[in-house]
């Protein structure tokens, strides 16, 4: 049986791991390669590296980091942040990333999704969508959630699927950093309306939140950062809790 995935997310800035609370305040949580190795041994199913550097050296730094992670880690990982071209994706996949995640660049140039899916296969193209509710409507946001767009979350998600995304990483900006739980209603709607896997992100605070996002939110995977980085939740304990709630997990 296909299991539900638990995915720690490592925010990377200039080669170091950071975690933003509501994407604004940053705290250092260690060396990415070491942390990745630790998480793979702790039972993480997959890892996401999100690069938030803004330097000119960022592409090269990220490509080198991917190579170091691939050398050490025996579980799959996804790389995102600032990816905007076929060349960007090519070097990351060649260096050992399993999937790439694109976000703002897909909104600015939706054809990029088609091009990447055609060249590399849809299974390695994750489209990340950040959204929050404005007057009751879920609107897609860019630049780490700072810039609103006119796009409706569900319309955009459907378009992304049609263009060839292999899965969607949905971050609710309303929930991110709150530790009050995932945006399960929106997640369930995405899961029902689309036929590709949905990763839930934003709002993890307790183990029960993960149970809820798999049961009520119908998510295929759940991503979190600080609850793992600061050891508020151990992955093994979380998976035992999920299994106790009849949610299939790899243990």
């Amino acid at each position: 049986m296909l299991t539900k995935r638990i995915i720690p997310c490592l925010d990377i800035k200039n080669g170091r791991t950071v975690k933003g609370v509501n994407f604004v305040d940053l705290r250092d949580a260690g060396d990415p390669v070491e942390l990745a190795d630790l998480y793979s041994k702790a039972g993480a199913d997959e890892l996401v590296f999100l690069d938030i550097s803004a330097t000119e050296e960022r592409r090269k730094t990220l490509a080198n980091l991917v190579l170091e992670v691939a050398e050490k880690v025996n579980i799959p990982f996804t790389v995102g942040g600032g990816i905007s071209s076929i060349e960007d994706v090519d070097i990351l996949l060649q260096n050992g990333a399993d999937k790439v995640s694109i976000n703002s660049s897909a909104v600015k140039n939706p054809q990029l999704i088609n091009d990447l899916a055609a060249k590399f296969g849809r299974q390695c193209i994750t489209v990340a969508i950040d959204a929050k509710q404005i007057n009751g409507e879920w609107k897609v946001h860019l630049v780490g959630g700072k810039v609103p767009t006119e796009l409706n979350l569900f319309d955009w998600a459907k378009e992304v699927e049609q263009r060839g995304a292999g899965e969607i990483l949905f971050t609710s900006m309303d929930n991110d950093g709150t530790k009050d739980g995932f945006a399960n209603k929106a997640l369930a709607k995405l899961s029902e309306e689309l036929n590709i896997p949905i990763i839930a992100s934003g709002g993890a605070g307790t183990m029960q939140h993960f149970v809820d996002t798999f049961k009520e939110g119908k998510a295929d995977a759940a991503l979190a950062a600080s609850v793992f980085h600061f050891k508020e939740i151990e992955i093994k304990d979380l998976k035992e809790e999920l299994r106790g709630n009849e949610i299939p997990v790899r243990l």
Binding site: M1, L2, D45, N74, P76, K119, G121, G166, P197
Partner: protein, 208 residues
């Protein structure tokens, strides 16, 4: 078919066929973690002289097949005599045919690869379990251990199936015929279970 130590020396020559199909660095690193070195190559002589050959593949079937044909590897691979392991799309291309891009395969495994169409999300991404294990490839691997998969197409269960998984239906997660092996899952990404399977493949007798 008995795993033998023959050929399993420090000098074992492992070649990963490099035809421009995706994430082969991870396979090279996985082999490195087991204490061996693998060479990436598209050179027919080098591939023929290897003790073990790994035939990877990520991406879309018809374009991968075009790349194989352009380099003449489509005729070379079926003629190889040493143990060959096809991974993911590599395994699918070793079959007769795949619905993806309406593509003729290498015809090593006598089966047609079909698209998932059983009320499940496509692609399947994540960790599933392997069962009905029947091959030295799975020595010291328990029934229902977890392996990592990313795919939209599958090989149905047939005579050459040596492991199966369930995703809407039961399907082949590994195939074996003569010196040819194929895994739908990624052993290089399947944690310690994958490492054991990869090690079992490297331990196969070269004259298998």
């Amino acid at each position: 078919m008995i795993p033998a130590l023959a050929g399993m020396t420090d000098k074992m020559k492992i070649v990963i066929i490099n035809y421009g199909a995706g994430n082969i660095q991870s396979i090279k690193f996985a082999i490195q973690r087991l204490g061996y070195e693998a060479v990436l190559s598209d050179n027919p002589e080098e591939i023929k002289s290897a003790d073990k050959v790994i035939f990877p593949g990520v991406g879309e079937a018809s374009s991968a097949m075009k790349k194989l044909k352009a380099s003449g590897l489509d005729t070379l691979v079926p003629q190889l005599k040493q143990p060959v392991l096809g991974i993911c799309l590599g395994m699918q291309l070793m079959c007769n045919y795949t619905e993806e891009g309406d593509t003729q395969g290498l015809g090593i495994f006598d089966v047609n690869v079909l698209r998932f169409n059983h009320g499940v999300k496509v692609p399947q991404i994540g960790w599933n379990q392997i069962e009905s294990l029947k091959s030295p490839l799975f020595e010291n691997v328990e029934e229902k251990e977890y392996i990592y998969l990313v795919h939209s197409y599958y090989a149905p269960v047939m005579e050459e199936t040596i492991a199966q998984s369930n995703y809407g239906i039961a399907y082949s997660t590994a195939l074996h015929k003569d010196n040819f092996y194929g895994t739908q899952f990624h052993p290089e990404k399947s944690s310690v279970t994958g490492e054991r399977i990869l090690r079992n493949f490297l331990n196969l007798s070269t004259t298998n």
